[in-house]
């Protein structure tokens, strides 16, 4: 029955224009599931029916009904209690600063019931060649300068380097770093676009030289490399692997706490090298290098799943909960506590806007699985529902 509400949302959205490919597919799956569904769809989308219903809505007087309701349930209007609560709130507001001087406010006042763990957002620090640190999210619409030289413009949560080629042999490097709950995007001096996921570090020259274009990555980034056949673009990964391209779009996931270094090719061609092993990927392929065994594997994947994070989405497709939880930790800055291996190996599927707060994600996971997830300060405690 719960599915009905999701389908209703999709149908409403469809009425106002296009659905995304993902949504279209979801609706189509439902429509073709059985003959009844397409009849229900016809009824729900009938212009006459909607018009009648909306005319009925117009006629109804919500205020009048609310008044009648308060007669049926008088405690809805119990003024005394409201006043008392207001008084208490004022007392609390006045007392708190006093208490705070002697106790940790957190411990006495912070009601865990009201904790909302918010999603991450645009946040990054930039370290210049001279060691200077800049907090980019607080440094909007400004030029990043080194002495008098303008290096890049930081605006709309994007850092864009000015075009050009370095004239000297020695390159100057900048390093951008996104924390837990952070993401950022940048345009390098050759026009290459890079999206950085949370807990990621990228080191790159302010201006590339005459030879290869080389950057160093730790974490996860999506690259849309500006085409230049004369200068290969190489992503060095901290464990010694390299991804070499000419001009193309791909995602590199190289978190140290993940079992694999994954390179997913969306468009173009890339060469992945690790020690003496080398593979060339074609679009739709992913290479996976096992960090422990050094085993290198190539597989076909739906690339969208691996780049959706840069479009602001979580896309899980039969993804083990252990991996889901690692993503949750990086993006929401929470520690996920789950001791049950069986749970961690289970797989789930689903799509969610990653800017929703963590409660939404928990709801979704709880809805599709027999799990119970509690928030306790900055921890998520995962267990099985008792009655299942």
């Amino acid at each position: 029955m719960k599915e009905i509400f999701q389908i209703a949302k999709l149908i409403s959205k469809e009425k106002f224009g296009d659905l995304s490919a993902e949504e279209r597919r979801e609706l189509d799956v439902w429509l073709t599931k059985n003959g009844r569904n397409s009849l229900a769809y016809k009824q729900a989308t009938s212009p006459d029916l909607i018009k009648n219903e909306h005319e009925l809505f117009e006629k109804l007087d919500v205020d009048k009904s609310w008044k009648k309701l308060t007669k049926k349930a008088p405690s809805l209007l119990n003024r005394k209690v409201i006043r008392m609560k207001t008084v208490l709130r004022w007392v609390a507001a006045l007392l708190l600063p006093l208490l705070a001087t002697t106790y940790l406010v957190n411990d006495i006042y912070w009601n865990p019931e009201t904790v909302i763990v918010e999603a991450g957002g645009a946040k990054a620090t930039l370290q210049l060649a001279n060691g200077e640190l800049i907090y980019l999210e607080d440094f909007q619409n400004k030029e990043i300068k080194s002495g008098k030289e303008k290096l890049a413009l930081n605006s709309d949560n994007k850092l864009a380097y000015h075009e050009g080629e370095s004239q000297s042999e020695e390159l100057k490097y900048n390093t951008i770093h996104t924390p837990t709950k952070g993401e950022y995007s940048l345009v390098l001096s050759d026009g290459t676009k890079v999206w950085l996921n949370a807990q990621t570090q990228l080191e790159y020259p302010v201006k590339f030289g005459k030879g290869k274009r080389e950057v160093i990555l730790n974490g996860e980034a999506y690259f849309d490399v500006a085409h230049d056949t004369t200068k290969a673009f190489i992503v060095h990964i901290a464990n010694g692997a390299d991804v070499e391209v000419l001009g193309t779009s791909f995602n590199v996931m190289a978190y140290e706490d993940e079992a694999e270094v994954q390179t997913t090719l969306v468009e173009g061609k890339v060469k992945f090298t690790y020690q003496e092993n080398q593979v060339t990927l074609t679009p739709g392929e992913q290479s996976g290098l096992n960090r422990k065994t050094s085993h290198l594997d190539v597989r076909e994947v739906k690339t969208y799943q691996y780049s959706a994070w840069k479009e602001g989405k979580f896309v899980f497709s039969r993804e083990p909960l252990s991996s889901v939880f690692r993503k949750v930790s990086r993006w929401y800055g929470v520690e996920v506590v789950c001791e049950d291996e069986v749970i961690l190996n289970r797989r789930i599927s689903g799509v969610m806007n990653k800017y929703e707060n963590v409660g939404e994600l928990i709801d979704l996971i709880e809805e599709v699985s027999p799990l119970k997830i509690e928030i306790n300060k900055d921890k998520l405690l995962v267990s099985k529902k008792m009655n299942e």
Binding site: E3, A8, L10, H54, G350, M352, D363
Partner: protein, 183 residues
């Protein structure tokens, strides 16, 4: 809503849930009862009970499931009573109490509710354009009815639809599918 997105009611939030669902639930009850006054009264009763129970709901979807189910059950009881009292032979009763009929009506009602709610947040002129176009009127016909030009209608409609999609998108995360979680 508290930390887990769980819903528990207090005086400050109950009204907003009432505002959000009252009209749609009356429309829904009316499909069973074909009597608007009676439907209004019945939905008020359901909300009164909801308040008095003071239960907590896992999320908004579970709340919706509860609301639609209680309205439907109360409607069926109401119809049974009427039948006894008036010795009123209705042919449609057996069909009204099937699960399929219930789900189909919930779907239609939710679509109408979501459309209505998002449209009513638009500026007035755009509301009118969207309503006409939902009724299947062509841009030229809408322009004629509103004394406007077709280009104005087109661009207003485009902005309106964009805004509407965003509004719906905000609430519409799509999980869904399935899962082989089966612990």
């Amino acid at each position: 809503m508290n930390k887990n997105g769980k819903i528990s009611f207090d005086k400050s939030n109950f009204r907003s849930y009432f505002d959000q669902y009252f009209k749609a639930l009356v429309g829904f009850a009316n499909k069973f009862l074909s009597d608007i006054d009676m439907s209004e009264d019945l939905v008020q009763e359901v909300f009164a009970k909801l308040w008095e129970k003071h239960d907590e709901y896992e999320n908004e979807t579970t709340l919706k499931v509860y609301l639609y189910r209680s309205v439907r059950n109360n409607c069926l009881n109401q119809l049974k009573k009427q039948k006894v009292r008036q010795d009123y032979q209705t042919e449609s009763l057996p069909q009204l109490d099937t699960e399929e009929f219930f789900l189909d009506q919930v779907l239609s009602e939710e679509v109408s509710r979501l459309l209505y709610r998002s449209i009513s947040e638009l500026p007035e002129k755009r509301q009118q354009i969207v309503r006409y176009s939902l009724q299947g009127l062509k841009n030229q016909e809408i322009a004629d009815m509103m004394g406007s030009t077709i280009n104005t209608v087109k661009s207003q409609k485009m902005y309106a639809y964009k805004e509407l999609r965003e509004k719906l998108g905000k609430h519409a995360f799509l999980i869904a599918l399935l899962l082989d979680i089966n612990i």
